[in-house]
């Protein structure tokens, strides 16, 4: 069965998720808060209501960084 490739970071890993589904649904399924990540397809951002297809390759990039200073 075909499924989209989802790259996650910290630690770096890849998971297969069957599509189609919206970005919001994908983040909910992975239990990620939308304010803490960006979803990137190719070299551009994908908004929350966009539909991701089985042949998509997307990166979910965390945006929280932080030393304490």
């Amino acid at each position: 069965m075909e499924a989209m490739k989802v790259l996650l970071r910290n630690p770096r890993r890849e998971v297969d998720v069957p599509g189609p589904l919206s970005v919001h649904t994908l983040l909910n399924r992975l239990e990620l808060q939308r304010e803490t990540v960006l979803v990137i397809r190719g070299d551009t951002l994908v908004p929350g209501d966009a539909t991701l297809a089985d042949d998509d390759v997307v990166e979910i990039r965390p945006v929280i960084s932080g030393g304490a200073t």
């Binding site: 970071r9 910290n10 808060q33 939308r34 304010e35 803490t36 990540v37 960006l38 990137i40 070299d43 551009t44 951002l45 994908v46 908004p47 929350g48 209501d49 990039r61 965390p62 945006v63 929280i64 960084s65 932080g66 030393g67 304490a68 200073t69």
Partner: protein, 312 residues
């Protein structure tokens, strides 16, 4: 979803503004917010020379990029902290950014020039790594700005950083720190002015800015920061923000407009007794500054290898 400004296809939502933006209008929003922060807080002028503290991460590269776009004179300063592969990769990101844009990057290597790295220094001084790192960077930024004749040091602290620091300071009622928490620290007694032009922008926005501008920043988190208290505060605030967008902004800017002045006296009292460090001449309330004490304790200490347990 459509761009709130032009009705074209949006690429990002900014929930605290209840708005969506296409790429072009999002980049304009970021520049406008930085310009407003600079104007509102009188951070710097176009005829001043700014030194941007660059880590290779999204915030510092974005603020450098925006300042140059807005026409400010901005050089970068990268400090190699000796944190294994993380430092190697972050230095490469900073150098690549500068060379692609023809910008000047000043470099300082902590192990080569001061004889210790952060993992070793923090263990030898029994300080948390982020604490040893922070004090080293502040010292080296100030020193580089003085030597280079810069008017102002720029850091990439964003709204999430400032709200998390404020949250931590309020939880423990650290009134002296509350008195100093402002987007501008004026120059004084040998310290250059320090400014934070990203205080009106969140870290998701800064990451999005970098993606849209094609800025290749280091995404990996510092291995020494994992699990620190600051990240816990950010998580707590994000949990509130998820159900109540705009809370972080109101918390931080409400503090600046309605509460910060009440703590200013405590910070001023702390500032009164500064002399020169016996070793390096930097301003300090003690005979020897905190950085020189850290370097002294790290000298001759067993080097820490990342990933290995201390033998103690």
């Amino acid at each position: 979803v459509k761009c709130t400004v032009c009705r074209g296809p949006a690429v990002i939502d900014v929930r605290r503004h209840n708005a969506n933006f296409c790429g072009a209008h999002f980049l304009r929003l970021c520049r406008d917010q930085v310009a407003k922060a600079i104007r509102d807080h009188e951070m710097l002028t176009p005829d001043e020379r700014a030194l941007v503290a660059v880590s290779g991460g999204k915030d510092s590269l974005a603020v450098w990029d925006i300042l140059v776009e807005l026409g400010y004179q901005a050089d970068g300063l990268y400090v190699g902290l000796g944190i294994g592969e993380y430092s190697d990769a972050s230095g490469e990101a900073a150098r690549a950014f500068a060379s692609q844009r023809g910008l000047h990057l000043v470099e300082i290597d902590l192990p080569a020039e001061h004889g210790f790295d952060i993992p070793t220094g923090s263990r030898a001084a029994r300080r948390a790594p982020c604490s040893a790192c922070g004090l080293s960077k502040r010292h080296l930024f100030d020193d580089a700005a003085r030597r280079g004749g810069y008017d102002v040091v720029v850091t990439g602290h964003n709204l999430d950083d400032e709200a998390a620091v404020l949250f931590g300071n309020v939880l423990r009622w650290q009134t002296e720190y509350l008195g100093r928490q402002h987007p501008v620290l004026p120059a004084r007694d040998g310290f250059p002015r320090k400014v934070k032009p990203l205080v009106r922008l969140g870290e998701r926005e800064m990451a999005a800015y970098c993606v849209l501008r094609g800025i290749d920043y280091i995404v990996e988190e510092c291995p020494m920061a994992a699990g620190n208290r600051h990240l816990g505060y950010k998580e707590a605030l994000n949990a509130v923000e998820a159900t109540s967008p705009g809370t972080k902004h109101d918390f931080y800017f409400g503090f600046l407009s309605r509460a910060a002045d009440r703590f200013a006296g405590e910070a001023a009292a702390e500032r009164e007794h500064l002399g020169a460090c016996d070793r390096c001449g930097a301003p300090t309330p003690n005979d020897v500054c905190a950085f020189c004490r850290l370097a002294e304790r790290a000298a001759g200490a067993q080097p820490v290898v990342l990933g290995e347990k201390p033998s103690s």
